[in-house]
């Protein structure tokens, strides 16, 4: 079922210098972004970072203090929500308790004066898409949380919006259901081909579903790109910590070959493209799963090496998490897949080693 319109050359959503100033603080500051048609775009950030405000401005529930919002090239700034070609899945679902599931889903179509026969056909099709056939005559409160969530999704999708806005739609579901719905949402998005703008504070959720993630912090976008790209090269300390875990070490760029002299002694090799200019202060980081552990003196170890002592080891099935105390960089986290029986005991001297291309530099 292709609900979407012809792929457009113009970006589905464009924000140009958008600022939202509330009485005592600014929620969004000079935000510029562009989302291509048919993409799954995630706005990721901690609570209060401005991601929901950004979504509400796209939907028309908040007006920007300054800046322009365009949908498919058309300036919609100042348009009321009911005049915008977008639909929203609300965090609380906001289903109408006095209407049946069928009438909830048909609500938007009825307002657009769609004929009864077409309403019936379209509501039927979308309920099939979200697997709720047979629940038409129930009331929202007779459904489970996951089912209500899917009604909210169907109610928005049935209108064939050009952009679908999702405000933490999975926040109220338990973990298992959330995982199922993540896959389900991704499937539906691919099936209907509509642009999805998804707000979430769950980095795993964003990475599971989105083509592009914008990480927001204090009203600004800190980093935007494909999940793998921003995971491997987060560029700021905030992103490296919010998206997955990182071990950060302070140092100074030493030469143009990607060497970083750590403040506490020792040299780390990094990808020179991910470092600032020579002589600049920098923090270099490495993801816990990129580090391997070796016994001291092992010649097979990759070039970036730091000696240390194991202070904690927790076996969690698929992997073992170590805490290693190093003289140069303090305590570092290491995640080792349980491929062989080699385990390191508490207090054991080890060498942590990783490849230069797995090292990234961050600012801030």
């Amino acid at each position: 079922m292709a609900i979407g319109n012809e792929p457009s050359q113009k970006p589905a959503v464009e924000l140009d210098g958008v600022t939202k100033q509330f009485v005592d603080f600014s929620a969004v500051e000079d935000l510029t972004l562009s989302v291509d048609d048919g993409k799954f775009f995630a706005l990721l950030g901690p609570s209060g970072c401005g991601k929901t405000t950004t979504l509400r401005m796209i939907g028309g529930f908040e007006e920007p203090t300054s800046g322009v919002i365009r949908l498919h090239g058309e300036n919609v700034t100042g348009l009321k929500p009911y005049k915008r070609p977008v639909n929203t899945v609300f965090q609380s679902y906001a289903l109408f308790p006095h209407l049946s599931i069928f009438e909830n889903v048909a609500f938007g179509l009825r307002r657009s004066k769609v004929s009864d026969a077409e309403v019936k056909q379209r509501v039927g099709a979308v309920l099939e898409l979200v697997q709720l056939v047979g629940r038409e005559n129930r009331r929202p409160r007779q459904l489970s949380g996951g089912q209500q969530q899917r009604v909210a999704l169907a109610r928005a999708l049935v209108n064939h919006p050009r952009v679908l806005l999702l405000d933490e739609p999975l926040g109220a579901l338990d973990l298992k259901l959330r995982k199922e719905m993540q896959i389900e949402l991704k499937r539906i998005q691919q099936e209907v081909g509509i642009t999805f703008i998804h707000v979430t504070h769950d980095q795993e959720e964003a990475m599971t579903m989105a083509d592009t993630i914008a990480v927001m912090n204090q009203g600004r976008i800190e980093r935007m790109g494909a999940p793998t790209e921003i995971y491997e090269d987060p560029r700021t300390a905030f992103v490296s910590g919010f998206l997955g875990a990182s071990n950060l070490m302070s140092g100074k760029v030493d030469g143009d070959r990607g060497a970083v002299a750590l403040a506490s002694g020792g040299v780390i090799q990094a990808n020179p493209n991910r470092l600032p200019a020579v002589g600049a202060e920098v923090k270099v980081g490495v993801r816990p799963e990129k580090i391997q552990l070796f016994a001291p003196g092992d010649e097979d170890a990759p070039p970036n090496r730091l000696p240390g002592k194991v202070t904690d080891a927790s076996f969690i099935g698929v992997s073992t998490h170590y805490l290693v105390d190093t003289p140069q960089a303090g305590e570092m986290t290491v995640v080792v897949q349980n491929l062989d029986d080699r385990r390191f005991a508490l207090g054991e001297e080890v060498v942590m080693a990783w490849q230069p291309e797995h090292t990234f530099g961050v600012t801030g």
């Binding site: 939907g59 929203t88 609380s92 109408f96 307002r111």
Partner: protein
């Protein structure tokens, strides 16, 4: 297993059964004061009222239970005017109260912001003054030489000659509306207040302009409040007699006045009882039809 081994378990089971029985009794114990109160002060008087309505005789000679159904027939013949007027005034007052009260409740719930509590208190302030005094105040407000009447005459709404409000049906209506307005506003306010705002945003998101959103979402969600409010206005208004007594004249007498008169002045208890019961049944029937047609059982609490 031997019988001796079973005995302790049986004892245990009996103890558990006892506890269970005690637990089941608790709700009834909690209900008891209310039930006793209702039986003594509502059910018993109601039965005696029905008995009274079927008696014959007079105060001097004493009353006798004779299945005197003619007492009821009299209600529809002698007092048909008052019965119809009671319905007319109470329904009229309820409609006007709703028209004034709904916007007021809406404004307090959605538009007053941090002054909300102040407005709610203002709504309840009149209750601090006795009912009788408030109604008497309306005599002054609607007096023939008061500013309301003179203004209406100046505007040409009331005739120059003999234009007055006091002792007319309008004064009675005004008094009824004033008396019961808070009973209409408060339940509607409560229903509106707990409406989830995101519901209205969702309606807007689904192509409803504010007017459609009101009729398709806000109004149906506030219906439980509207029903309570209209019932709290209609029922006491139908039996009211103070407003007619103080603001109307004998042409406006309602059933309440007839009952009061029969009970306290004429001392014709059987007739008074028959009228009371008729009025009560009429109201119950009206309420049942009203609630059925609005379909409140389907609405969310």
């Amino acid at each position: 297993m031997t019988a001796i081994a079973e005995t302790p378990r049986q004892a245990q089971e009996t103890a558990a059964g006892e506890a269970e029985k005690r637990r089941r009794r608790v709700p009834y114990l909690l209900l008891a004061p209310g039930i006793i109160y209702l039986i003594l002060l509502y059910v018993v008087p109601l039965i005696s009222l029905v008995r009274m309505a079927l008696q014959d005789g007079n105060l001097q000679a004493g009353y006798e239970f004779t299945w005197a159904w003619e007492n009821f027939a009299e209600v529809f013949t002698t007092y048909r005017g008052q019965l119809l007027r009671s319905l007319l005034y109470s329904v009229g007052a309820t409609v006007i109260t709703l028209l004034i009260g709904y916007p007021l409740a809406y404004a307090i719930a959605f538009r007053t912001g941090r002054w909300k509590n102040l407005f709610l208190v203002l709504l309840l302030v009149p209750f601090l003054i006795p009912f009788l005094l408030r109604t008497l105040a309306w005599r002054t407000i609607l007096a023939d030489n008061g500013f309301v009447v003179t203004t209406l005459i100046d505007l040409g709404i009331l005739p120059q000659q003999g234009g007055r409000l006091l002792a007319t049906g309008w004064a009675v209506l005004a008094g009824l509306v004033y008396s019961f307005l808070p009973f209409m506003v408060l339940p509607i306010y409560v229903a509106l207040e707990k409406t989830d705002r995101s519901m209205l945003e969702a309606a807007g998101d689904l192509y409803s302009n504010p007017v459609t959103a009101f009729w398709k979402v806000t109004w149906p969600l506030s219906l439980p409040g509207v029903i309570s409010g209209t019932l709290l206005t209609l029922i006491p208004a139908a039996g009211d007699y103070i407003n007619v007594q103080l603001l109307g004249n004998p042409q406006q007498t309602m059933m309440g006045n007839v009952i009061e008169n029969k009970f306290l002045s004429v001392i014709d208890y059987p007739a008074a009882a028959a009228i009371s019961i008729t009025l009560m049944i009429a109201i119950v029937i009206a309420v049942v039809f009203y609630v059925r047609s609005v379909g409140s059982e389907d609405l969310v609490a």
